[in-house]
Every structure is written in structure tokens, then in C-alpha cells.
């Protein structure tokens, strides 16, 4: 009995150490379990506080909408490009939408990718969000990268560069929803798609949210 208890305690300690070393995910993957859907109770229930230098690995975004070209991007990075509105910005991955301080800070570096949502390489919904303002003259100073998103219409092309691949989407639907309709914030979709969210209408208003949905059409490696 004593031996059994000692072995059990050692087993528990090994599991805790493995979890914090990240090896737990590797073990889950090798066992055929998707680590991203394995959320231990109690580890994911509260918003994080806004840590200093949370995005220190990224350069501060330049005050232009069209910051990059296909030639100047990091091929393994994450970028959003919409030629219709002359937008080409970096995307900051896994930004917690519950932490206003954190996501506002992320806009200093680019467009936010919503934490707990999918990525372009997977079947699912990739959720992107950024600030938009009614005063277009102040848009750059306010990091309001989605200010001109209200000009995007169904049928327009959206391109995402993600970890070595170029994903081309076509806008399929534009929805106006209540800010309380949090069900739209999801990573679930039966097909690969991107949802881009900004405040409005009218653009910049906090009374409504506009969701621009686009369906994946082609995937090709970045040359």
C-alpha cells in the first residue's frame, strides 16, 4: 500500500512537470488527441492581466495601411492583405478578446487574431479584429487598421499569409450584429474561413459590430 502511494505521488509530480514543460501536448498529440481542445479545468477560466511587453517579439507597426509587400514579409509570419482597401498588415496571433488592455496594445503591432479561434491551415474559422474609426483622418494615429473595411463587399478578395502558405479567400457574407452576440466569436466552422470584425455601423460606433466573412478558395506555398 505504501509503495503504491509513493508511485502514485511520483506519477502526479511527473505529470505536473511534463505539463509545464510543454511535453504534455506532445504526448497528447502522439496519442491522437488534439492538444488545442484539451483544456484542463481551472487553467483557462479567467482573462489574463495585461503583461508588460506581451508583444515584445514584434516590431511596432508603421503608421501606414499598406506596410508590407509579398517580397518584404517574413514567409513564416502571419499577415492580412486586402488590395481593395490597400491594406497589408501583420497579424498578431492568439490575442485574448476578454482583455481590453491586451488587445488595444496588440494594435500597436498589427491586427489581432482572436485567441481560441482557428488558423488558416486548419478547418475552422480564423477570427481577426481591429479598431475602426469614423474620423478617417485619425485612423493611422489610432491604429484603426480596419477603418476602411466598410468598403469591402461580397465577392472581394482577401489574402492571408500564414506559416509559409498564401491563403486566398472570397468575401461571402457581411453581417451586422449586436456587441452582445458573442456566439459569433468562434473558431468553429465546417470549412476553412476567415471572419474580420470591426466596430459599426456607422464605422467606429460601439453600438454594433460588423463581421466580414470570407471562404477559402485556394492555398499555395509562398514563393
Amino acid at each position: 500500500m505504501k509503495k503504491f502511494l509513493i508511485i502514485f505521488v511520483i506519477w502526479i509530480i511527473i505529470n505536473i512537470v511534463l505539463y509545464y514543460l510543454g511535453a504534455f501536448n506532445t504526448i497528447l498529440s502522439s496519442a491522437g488527441v488534439d492538444p488545442s481542445v484539451f483544456v484542463p479545468t481551472g487553467f483557462n477560466s479567467a482573462p489574463t492581466t495585461n503583461p508588460q511587453n506581451a508583444f515584445s517579439g514584434y516590431e511596432i507597426a508603421k503608421k501606414v495601411f499598406n506596410e508590407f509587400t509579398e517580397q518584404t514579409i517574413d514567409k513564416n509570419g502571419f499577415y492580412l492583405r486586402i488590395d481593395k482597401i490597400n491594406l497589408f498588415k501583420r497579424v498578431i496571433p492568439n490575442v485574448d478578446p476578454r482583455d481590453q488592455g491586451l488587445y488595444v496594445d496588440s494594435w500597436n503591432y498589427g491586427i489581432s487574431h482572436g485567441e481560441f479561434t482557428s488558423t488558416p491551415d486548419k478547418i475552422g474559422l480564423t477570427y481577426l479584429f481591429a479598431h475602426a474609426t469614423s474620423n478617417k483622418a485619425d485612423a493611422l494615429d489610432q491604429n484603426a487598421w480596419f477603418t476602411y473595411m466598410d468598403q469591402v463587399v461580397v465577392g472581394d478578395t482577401v489574402i492571408i499569409y500564414y506559416e509559409g502558405n498564401k491563403y486566398t479567400y472570397i468575401v461571402s457574407e457581411i453581417l451586422v450584429v449586436s456587441p452582445d452576440a458573442t456566439g459569433y466569436y468562434t473558431g468553429a466552422s465546417p470549412v476553412s474561413m476567415v471572419r474580420m470584425q470591426f466596430c459599426g455601423p456607422p464605422t467606429g460606433s460601439l453600438n454594433a459590430r460588423t463581421l466580414v466573412d470570407a471562404l477559402l478558395v485556394t492555398t499555395e506555398p509562398i514563393n
Partner: protein, 242 residues
């Protein structure tokens, strides 16, 4: 006496094992427990369908009992069209074809080559416009129980606007039960409602399931969920005016 007992029990054990092996294989193979032994499954293509034929492309689809990577080779050409992953449901697009030409092809399945008189495709005289903006519609298929997604299958979609009817457009189901097709090549008014017929093959020994829906393209691109079981949901629960 002890030796006799030992001998008898050994012989009895061997007899039980000898009998149980073929019985187990027969029971598993019968599908009673929904198990399949890959080595006993057939890789021969069945239900080979050629669809969505244009002047420069066509789709070849088929099923196999065994999960394999399929290939198609045009007769008289060195070009081989190959799938990326193995499955029991197969879809290959033959592209860069020449207009108004009759092709014959072979289907490669798990290393075996299959030919049939019906393995032919005749291209039309109309080439699809490569610069046309895709118009995607999509949906999701749920299994017999209605709660889990159908992670493998082949679906044929036919769209009609009342005047014109499309060819069968094929799509494979992904691991989320999802599928999407491009209907931009149809000469439809995309701001109106269309009738969508979906024929889903989900099990190589079972009949396909057909469903029909009206889809208002001006409002949504998502086809209502397809339930392979006896589930019909035509309206979301609610009370008029509330």
C-alpha cells in the same frame, strides 16, 4: 491422471483457439460490430462517376472498400493525377484537358490498375473563365445519430434556378463533415433562390442519402445541415411574432 488432465486441457485450449479465429474473422467481417479488417477489404473502384465536365476539366469520383490513395492516368499521356491522402472516397480533378476531345483513363488503386469501357470523358467546347470570381456555397453533414459529424464521404450537388440545372458537382467531406463547391460557372442570377439537391455517399455498402433544400443566395451561402439519419429540421423552434 495429472498428465491426462494436462493433455486434455491443452488439446481443448488449442481447439478453442482454432475454432475461435475463423469465427471471429467471420463475425468482424460481417459488419455486425462495425469493425473492418483492412486486409480483407477490396481496393477495386466502384461507382465511378465522371461529372462537372467543361472544355478543359472534369472530375472523376469513386469509392473503394479499402482506404487507399487513388490515381487517374489518361491513356496515351504520362500525366498522372494523384490524391494527397488515403480514403475510401475519391475525387480527382482532371485539368488542362483539350476542348471537344474524348479521353479514356485508368484508375490506380493501391497499386492495382483498373480499366473499364465506361472510363471515358468527352470535353465540351466551353472553357471555364479562370478570372471569374468564385461563388462558394458550403455545408456540413451529420451522421446517422444526428449529433456527430460525418467525417468521410462523397457528396454530389446539383443546383437549379427553375430554368437551368447544373451538372453534378462533386465534393469530398472533410474531417468536420464540411464541404464546399464553386457554382460561379453557372449562368444563374446569384441574388435569387435556387433549389439544391445533395446526394451523399457515406458508406460503401449503404445506399446514398438524398436531400433537397431551397437556398436564398442573396442571404446566405450555407446550405442547411444534412442529417444522414431520420432527422428533418425545416425551421428553428420559435413562436410567430415573438
Amino acid at each position: 491422471m495429472n498428465n491426462f488432465l494436462k493433455k486434455t486441457s491443452s488439446i481443448a485450449s488449442l481447439a478453442i483457439i482454432a475454432v475461435s479465429v475463423p469465427i471471429t474473422i467471420a463475425v468482424l467481417n460481417s459488419g455486425t460490430f462495425n469493425f473492418k479488417i483492412n486486409a480483407l477489404l477490396n481496393d477495386k473502384p466502384k461507382n465511378v462517376v465522371i461529372s462537372d465536365i467543361s472544355g478543359d476539366s472534369a472530375y472523376v469520383t469513386w469509392e473503394t472498400e479499402k482506404s487507399v490513395i487513388g490515381m487517374v492516368k489518361l491513356t496515351g499521356s504520362n500525366k498522372i493525377f494523384t490524391e494527397k491522402t488515403s480514403s475510401s472516397f475519391h475525387l480527382i480533378e482532371l485539368n488542362t484537358l483539350t476542348t471537344t476531345t474524348k479521353y479514356t483513363f485508368s484508375v490506380y488503386s493501391d497499386g492495382s490498375i483498373y480499366n473499364d469501357n465506361s472510363y471515358t470523358v468527352s470535353t465540351s467546347n466551353t472553357v471555364s473563365n479562370p478570372n471569374k470570381t468564385p461563388f462558394m456555397i458550403f455545408g456540413q453533414v451529420f451522421g446517422i445519430n444526428g449529433t456527430t459529424v460525418q467525417q468521410e464521404g462523397l457528396i454530389y450537388i446539383t443546383v437549379s434556378d427553375g430554368k437551368n440545372i447544373s451538372q453534378k458537382i462533386p465534393a469530398l467531406l472533410n474531417k468536420s463533415g464540411g464541404f464546399q463547391v464553386d457554382i460561379s460557372n453557372l449562368n444563374f442570377d446569384y441574388q435569387k433562390s435556387v433549389e439544391v439537391t445533395l446526394l451523399t455517399y457515406y458508406d460503401s455498402v449503404k445506399d446514398p442519402i438524398q436531400k433537397e433544400f431551397t437556398l436564398d443566395l442573396s442571404k446566405t451561402r450555407q446550405i442547411p445541415n444534412i442529417y444522414l439519419g431520420d432527422v428533418e429540421i425545416s425551421v428553428i423552434p420559435g413562436v410567430n411574432g415573438k
